[in-house]
C-alpha cells in the first residue's frame, strides 16, 4: 500500500513530519517498508539558466555554458556534452559536491580540456527520475531560476509504502491509515464531506436483480447502482492525476480515475459501466454459466465457471464481481451516460475466483480482505460528487438491490485484561479513549461493552480489543519480564530417543563424515529406483519437475551430491544426512534415518603406505558405529546378505536384530551410479533409527559390577580350511560357542585362498583369547579347549585345521 504525505493530509490534520509519521505507522503495526523523500534526495539541484552556450575550443562535441544560478552572482562556466544544450535554455544544475544517483558519482570542480567546469547540467536519468538520457532537462522558460528543482517540480511529496497485514482491510485506504494515526495522537481525522448523500434528480432507469441459488445467497448481499447522464469524460484534473501517478497508477480518464482514486483513498472499489453499452436495460448479478467468457479490462479473456460471481446484461457477462470489469461495457472518452456500481461481494468466493482465474487487481485485493459494509452508499455518493464535479451531468436516484449485512457485534473487555494478557498496565480511561478514537463504540463499566466499527471485521473478541489498545499504546511499553523458572535446576529437554539421535549425528561426524542437509523431495523416476513411491507422496504442485515426490530414501540425494563434488574436483566425499525418508503419508510412514555415502579413496595416496579405495567394510563400520551410538546391541546383530537392489548384490549386507532390519550397507549398485550420474567406487549405508529398541528403563543409573580377573588371558591361534562359500561369521560363532565360559574374544587375522589350501577352499586364521576366571590354565586344559574349538568348527561348517 503506497500513498503520499499530502494525500494522507487530505484526511489527517497534522503537523507531524514524515519521519514521525513513519515511526508511528510501524509502531501501530502498519510496517513502513520505504519512505522516498525526493525533495530531500534532490535538495542540491536548482533551476538554472544557460546565459550563453558556445563550442568548446578544444573539443568538437562539447559546449561551454555560462550558467546563471539566480543568486545575483556572475554566471559560472559548465562544460556540457548534451546535444540539446543551447543559449537561453532553462535546465537543472548540480554544484560540485553533489551526489548523482543516476551515475553513482560525486561531482567535483575539474578542468575539461583546458576549460574549468563547475558542476553539471543534468538529465532526468541522472536525477534518477526516469530513463530519459537524450539530453539535459529542458524546463519551461518561466521556471524560477535559483529555485530548488524538486520542490518546484512537485516532487517534494514524500512517498510512503507500508506492508499491510491481511487483517487490516480498513488500511487498504488512506483514510483508514489516517484514522490509526489520529488515534495514536498524531493529529485529527478530518470529516469526509464529499461522502455526504447526493440527491438524485430522476429515478434510476437501470434496475438490478440479484439472482443466486440458496447455497450462494451470500455471494453479493448488496448492490447499489446509479446512472449519471450527460457527462463529458476527459482527463481528470491535475490534482487527481498527481495522486495516482505518485503511487504508480496511470491516469486513464476522469470516470476511471475516480474509481481508482476511491479504491486507494477509502478502500472502496467501484465499477463504472458505459450505460449505453448495457443491453436490455437491466443488470443481473448471478453466478456465471458454464461456457461463458469475459474479455476483461486488462485485455485478457477468461473462461468462467459456475462458482464465479458476475454482473451480466441481457446478452452476457459484463463484469467479474469484485475483481475486474469487462472491456465491452467499459467507459471511454466517448461515454456520455455512466452507470456506477458499488457492491459487496463474498470475500472467500472473490479470493477463490481471483486465485483460480489468476487475476490480480486492486479491487480483488480489497474485496477478499473485506470492505466496510457501512460505506457502500457513502462510497457511491463520494464517487457521484467527484464525477459531477469533473464531468458534469445529472445523477439519478440510487438503486438498492439486497440489504446491508448486519455487522454489529458486541464484545466485553475486562479492564484488567490488557495487563493480564498483554502485560502492560493501561488505565481504563485510556483504553476507552483509544478504542473510541479507532471508531469502536464503548459502554464503560466492568467489563466494558465494545462494538467494533463497521470497517473492523477483523476484530472478534477480547484478545483483539487488547491488541487494539496495546498497539496504540505501543509495544515498546511492554516490560521484559523473565519467564519464571518451573524448577530450581534445569531439567533435560530431550527424551531418550532424541538424545540417541543427537549422539548418532556426532558419532558419525566423528568418523570423518560431513553432515549434509538435502531436499525432502526429489525426482519421481529416480525415487522409483529406491523402492515404490507411495501415491500419497506425489506433490500436486511441485516447485520443479525434478522435485515432485517425497524421497523414499536419502541415498539418491547424497549420491548425486557426491557426484557433484567429484565434478568439482573433490572425488573423496564422505557425506551423511540424519533426517526423514517418507514411505507413506501417515506420521508413522516418516522414518528417521542416518544415511551416508563414501566415495573415492578411503586411504589417500601418502608417502607412508598404499592408497585404498572405499569398500563395503567402511560402510559396515559406519552403520555399526551409528547403531552403537543409537544404543543398539551391536554384539547381538546378525548379518544377512539380502540388501535391496540399490546395493551391489554380492557386496552388501543387512544388519538385523532378530527379524528387525536395523541397517543396510554395501557398495552402491553400478546401475544406480549410472542413473544418478556419479562414479564409483562408492559405498553407502542406511540406518533405521526408529527400529532400534528403546533403552530399558533401568532402576537407577548403576552399571553392572565389573569383575576383573587376576589371571592372565591366554591367546592361541588356529587356522581352519573351510569351503570358500562359508561366511566367516559362522566360523567365529562356532568358536565362541565352543566354550562360552573361557572364550573371551575371537579375531580373524588372515583370510587366504590359493596354493596350499586347495581349489574352492579358504583358510581363515583366528586368534582366540581364553580368559580363565578361577585358576591358571594348565597346558592340558588349554589343549582340551583347543580340541573343543576344532570339533565345534568341524561340526558347524565342516572346517578342518590347516596342516
Amino acid at each position: 500500500m503506497k500513498f503520499t504525505l499530502s494525500w494522507l493530509k487530505d484526511h489527517l490534520d497534522t503537523d507531524a513530519d514524515v519521519g514521525r509519521i513513519a515511526t508511528a505507522l510501524t509502531a501501530l503495526g502498519l510496517e513502513v517498508e520505504d519512505v522516498t523523500d525526493r525533495a530531500k534526495d534532490l535538495a542540491p539541484y536548482v533551476v538554472a539558466r544557460v546565459v550563453e552556450a558556445f563550442p568548446h575550443p578544444n573539443a568538437d562535441k562539447l559546449r561551454v555554458c555560462m550558467v546563471d544560478l539566480g543568486q545575483g552572482e556572475p554566471p559560472i562556466s559548465v562544460v556540457c556534452g548534451a546535444p540539446n544544450v543551447r543559449t537561453g535554455m532553462t535546465s537543472v544544475y548540480a554544484p560540485a559536491g553533489t551526489y548523482i544517483p543516476g551515475k553513482d558519482l560525486t561531482l567535483a570542480v575539474r578542468e575539461v580540456r583546458g576549460v574549468v567546469s563547475n558542476g553539471m547540467l543534468c538529465s532526468a536519468m541522472e536525477l534518477g527520475l526516469s530513463d530519459d538520457h537524450e539530453g539535459i532537462i529542458d524546463l519551461a522558460a518561466d521556471a524560477p531560476v535559483g529555485a530548488a528543482y524538486a520542490a518546484w517540480a512537485g516532487l517534494g511529496d514524500p512517498l510512503i509504502e507500508i506492508a499491510l497485514t491481511p487483517d487490516r482491510a480498513d488500511c487498504a485506504g488512506v483514510r483508514g491509515i489516517a484514522r490509526d494515526l489520529a488515534a495514536a495522537g498524531l493529529g485529527r481525522l478530518k470529516p469526509l464531506a464529499k461522502a455526504e448523500p447526493v440527491a438524485g434528480t430522476f429515478p434510476n432507469p437501470v434496475p438490478v436483480h440479484l439472482d443466486f441459488p440458496p447455497e450462494a445467497a451470500g455471494a453479493c448481499p448488496l448492490f447499489l447502482g446509479r446512472l449519471i447522464r450527460g457527462v463529458r469524460n476527459g482527463p481528470s484534473p491535475k490534482w487527481m492525476q498527481d495522486r495516482l501517478t505518485a503511487i504508480g497508477l496511470r491516469p486513464i480518464s476522469a470516470l476511471v480515475d475516480v474509481t481508482n482514486f476511491l479504491t486507494m483513498d477509502v478502500a472502496r472499489p467501484l465499477h463504472v459501466f458505459d450505460a449505453d453499452g448495457i443491453r436490455g436495460g437491466a443488470l443481473t448479478v448471478r453466478l456465471a454459466r458454464a461456457g461463458e467468457t469475459l474479455e476483461a479490462l486488462n485485455g485478457k479473456t477468461y473462461a468462467l465457471d459456475p462458482a464465479v460471481t458476475v454482473i451480466a446484461d441481457a446478452h452476457g457477462v459484463e463484469s467479474l464481481g469484485g475483481i475486474m470489469g469487462g472491456a465491452r461495457s467499459g467507459c471511454t472518452e466517448a461515454t456520455v451516460n455512466v452507470y456506477v456500481e458499488a457492491a459487496l461481494f463474498d470475500t472467500v468466493r472473490t479470493a477463490q475466483t481471483g486465485r483460480r482465474l489468476g487475476v490480480e487487481s486492486d479491487a480483488r485485493y480489497r474485496f477478499e480482505r473485506g470492505l466496510d459494509p457501512d460505506f457502500v452508499a457513502a462510497g457511491m455518493d463520494y464517487a457521484t460528487r467527484l464525477i459531477l464535479e469533473m464531468c458534469g451531468g445529472e445523477a439519478s436516484e440510487m438503486f438498492v438491490a439486497g440489504t446491508p449485512p448486519d455487522w454489529r457485534r458486541t464484545y466485553t473487555l475486562r479492564t484488567d485484561r490488557v495487563r493480564t494478557l498483554g502485560g502492560v498496565d493501561v488505565p481504563a480511561a485510556d483504553q476507552v479513549r483509544i478504542l473510541r478514537d479507532l471508531g469502536f463504540h464503548v459502554t464503560e463499566g466492568e467489563p466494558m461493552t465494545v462494538v467494533p466499527p463497521s470497517w473492523r471485521a477483523d476484530v472478534h473478541g477480547e484478545a483483539d480489543l487488547v491488541e487494539e489498545v496495546m498497539r496504540v499504546v505501543g509495544f515498546d511499553a511492554i516490560p521484559a519480564t523473565p519467564l519464571p523458572r518451573t524448577s530450581a535446576m534445569t531439567r533435560p529437554a530431550l527424551d531418550a530417543r532424541q538424545r540417541r539421535t543427537a549422539s548418532v549425528r556426532r558419532a558419525v561426524a566423528a568418523r570423518g563424515m560431513e553432515e549434509a542437509v538435502t531436499w525432502s523431495f526429489m525426482a519421481g523416476p529416480l525415487a522409483a529406483r529406491f523402492g515404490q513411491v507411495h501415491d500419497g507422496l506425489r506433490l500436486l504442485n511441485p516447485i520443479a519437475s525434478d522435485l515432485d515426490v517425497m524421497r523414499p530414501s536419502i541415498l539418491p540425494n547424497l549420491i548425486q551430491a557426491a557426484g557433484r563434488n567429484a565434478d568439482r574436483g573433490f572425488p573423496d566425499a564422505a557425506l551423511f544426512e540424519l533426517g526423514p525418508q517418507y514411505r507413506t503419508p501417515e506420521p508413522a510412514g516418516q522414518q528417521t534415518m542416518a544415511t551416508g555415502v563414501r566415495a573415492g579413496l578411503a586411504v589417500q595416496r601418502h608417502w607412508s603406505g598404499a592408497p585404498r579405495p572405499v569398500d563395503v567394510h567402511d560402510a559396515k563400520a559406519d552403520a555399526l558405529a551409528a547403531l552403537e551410538a543409537a544404543g543398539a546391541p551391536v554384539g547381538n546383530l546378525q548379518v544377512t546378505t539380502d540388501a535391496p537392489d540399490w546395493y551391489h548384490p554380492g557386496r552388501s549386507g543387512t544388519l538385523r536384530l532378530g527379524p528387525t532390519v536395523l541397517a543396510r550397507f554395501g557398495e552402491t549398485h553400478p546401475e544406480v551410479l549410472d542413473l544418478l550420474g556419479a562414479k564409483g567406487p562408492m559405498v553407502q549405508f542406511e540406518v533405521f533409527l526408529d527400529a532400534v529398541p528403546a533403552p530399558k528403563k533401568k532402576a537407577g543409573t548403576a552399571r553392572p559390577l565389573l569383575k576383573l580377573s587376576a589371571l592372565q588371558p591366554v591367546v592361541r591361534d588356529f587356522a581352519f580350511v573351510v569351503d570358500a562359500a562359508t561366511e566367516a561369521d559362522r566360523v567365529v560363532r562356532a568358536v565362541r560357542g565352543a566354550d562360552k565360559a573361557l572364550v573371551a574374544d575371537v579375531a580373524v587375522f588372515d583370510v587366504y585362498q590359493g596354493p596350499g589350501v586347495g581349489e574352492g577352499r579358504t583358510s581363515l586364521a583366528l586368534s582366540v583369547t581364553l580368559q580363565p576366571t578361577e585358576k591358571t590354565l594348565t597346558e592340558a586344559e588349554i589343549d582340551a579347549v583347543g580340541q573343543k574349538i576344532v570339533a565345534a568348527v568341524a561340526k558347524a561348517v565342516g572346517g578342518v585345521l590347516r596342516g
Binding site: 501501530l28 486465485r355 500419497g536 507422496l537 500436486l540
Partner: protein
Amino acid sequence: MDDLKAELLAAVAAATDLAALDEARIAALGKKGRLTDAMKALGALSPDERRARGQALNEVKDAVTTAVEARRATLARAALAARLEAERVDVTLPTRAERAGHLHPISQTVDEIVAIFADMGFALAEGPDVEDDFHNFTALNFPPGHPARDMHDTFYLPDRADGSRMLLRTHTSPVQVRSMLSLKPPIRVICPGRTFRSDYDMTHTPMFHQVEGLVIDETTTMAHLKGCLVEFCRTFFDVDDLPLRFRPSFFPFTEPSAEVDIGCSRKGGELKLGNHGDWLEILGCGMVHPNVLSACGIDPQKYQGFAFGMGIERIAMLKYGIPDLRTFFEADLRWLRHYGFLPLDMPSLARGLVG
C-alpha cells in the same frame, strides 16, 4: 710397575670400540693376561716382597678394572648415539591423513537453541513433515479461503481416503497443535524442524527449517514473551545489550501478534548486530489465540500463553556470517567443512554457545 700400569691403562684408553676394549681387558686381566701372569709369579717371592708387590699389583688391577668400566660406558654411549643418529627421519613429512567430519550449521544451531530454551524449562517436541489441513491451518485459526492461507505457498499432496487434505507443513506450528492435544498445561515446548513453502529465489528455498516455541499456563503474559525472547536473542547472538523491538503484526494463531526486530548496523554494507540504531526483523510471535486453544482442547477461559517462531537458517546466517541461504542445501564439501562444526563442539550454557 708404574710402567706396566701406564701401559695397560693406555691400551684401555686406546680401545675405540667394545671389541677392542674387551681385547685390552683380556690382555690385562684375562687368564693369560699380564696382571694375571704377574699375580701368578708372586709365589716365587719372599713373604715381604710378595706382600709389597701383591699390594701394588692389586692397585694396578683396580685401576685397570675401573678404567675398563669407564671406557665401556663411554663407548656404549657413543654406540647408542651413533645408532640414534642412524635412525634419524624427516619429521617435516606430513602426517597420515585423519579426516575430521563436521556437523551442518543447521544441526549446531538447533542444538544451541535447545540448550538455551532447555534452561528456561522447555522440552523438545517433534512432529511429521507431511500434515493434514487440520493441524497446519484449521486448528491454527486460518479460516477456509482466508488470504493468510495464500501467504503460505503450500505444497499439496493427494487427499487421504477419509477426505482430509494432505500437505507439507508450512511451519512447525502443527507440532504445537499436537503438543497441546497430547499434553496438559502447564506446557513449555520448543519445536524445530523442516518446513516447506513453494518459493525459490535468492532468499527463499522450497524447504527450510523453523523453530517454534509454545508456553501455556494460567498467568503468562506478553511481558513474559518479551522477557523470554530478549534472553534468547542476547544469549544466542552473544550480544549482552542487543536491543529488541516488538511491532504489532498479524498471524491468525496469535492475538495480540508481534514481529520482533533486533538492533543492527548496516554501515558500509556490513551487517553488525548490536545497539546501533538500525533494525532487522528476525521472528514473529504473540499470545496464543483463544480459538487455537479451543481447537486444541484447552479451555481459553482458564489458560493462556505465547508462541513464537523463527527461521533457523536465517539466525544461523546472522550469527555465523553465512551469506547465501541456498548453499545450505547444496552439500558442497568445501562449504560443509568451512561452515560446519566439529562433533566435539557440543553447545551448552556451561561451556558457552560461541564456537
